[in-house]
Amino acid sequence: MDALNHTCILCGTKYHACDGCEKMRNWKSIACSISHYQQYTILINLRNKIFSEETAYKELLGLGVDVDTINFEEYADTTHSLIKQIQNRPSKTFKNKPKYNKKGAE
């Protein structure tokens, strides 16, 4: 069995990738799948303010990942703050604005 010599930057799973191929600089050196690499790049584009929360949400949705129903246990702790940032995107807050009664309680 191949040694699990890498840790996925998105989910934290241990996986095998050829160290000799690292010079190719492809996604395998940091992510366990192409999907996780794509999700990671979306998150750092959000972090670097290249993507808005809305854009990041749509990009992730395009990969089949609905951030609003995401299971945090499947993602590394270092991604959680960015995922929460997307979940709290302004457009969602506006569309799903809570309705309050006269006492101020929902």
């Binding site: 998105l10 492809n26 050196s29 940091i30 990671y40 998150l43 670097n48 590394a76 270092t78 991604t79």
Partner: protein, 273 residues
Amino acid sequence: MFNISNLINDKPLFIAGYSKSMGKCNWRLNNFSAWQVSADGEIVTKTDNTGTAVASFNRAKSVEMSGESTFYNLDLLAAQNGTKKKVGSSDNKIIVPAYKVFDTTAEQTTVVLDYTPIGTSGAEIKYIYEYNLDNSPIKEFEIAATADATHFALDAETKTITLPTGLPVGTRIGLDYERESEDAIEVNVSAIEFPIPEKVIVAIKTQDTCGTKQSVLFYEFPNAQMTVSSSVSHGTEDTHPFSLTCAQDYCSLDKRLYRVVVPSEVPADFIVV
């Protein structure tokens, strides 16, 4: 008529290798020493039935030369390995190692690198390290989407590293990465490239025994090949050794190994070189 037999060596002026097909200069050393050319051969002896030599014949003449470049020479290194020196440009950048070492200051959360790192997009630098005061790594931090106590984050475009959280003030951090530069040179030594035969010319400054006339003695090797085997060290006083095997010019009628030429005159500025 110019006809002398004795010469006094002054100093070597240059040695240069030229493409046999194009005549293009591939490398040239203007500062070298300990140059020597040596010939070898075999003697085959015929003996009679008592073992007494009857006749001897010389066979298998071979010539080698060697010397030491005073300076570490990249063109020589390329020639020894059958390659060319690559000079960087805007559209032909060269990958260069880079590193940074710094001590964290109060409330420091980021550090800006000197150069833009290259690598897998999003993880151009995979690890940074906490260093001992002797700059040896004692703890590693891995890249992540955001920084925490055991991870750092990197925005390659702005060259900014977000440091791991909770580092005490004065923590020494070190990191290595790669960058691209158009102002760099490279010699790529490959296991599948080898030197090819060249025409090599060596010039030695000489004078006659009366001390009245300076001249230049030229060695011309029509079919010399750099020897791959070499050992280079980088002490300040160390030199860059080289050696060449000189084969005969097989397709010529005289099977020349080399020739020596001494003109009666050479330009004065040539001798000054």
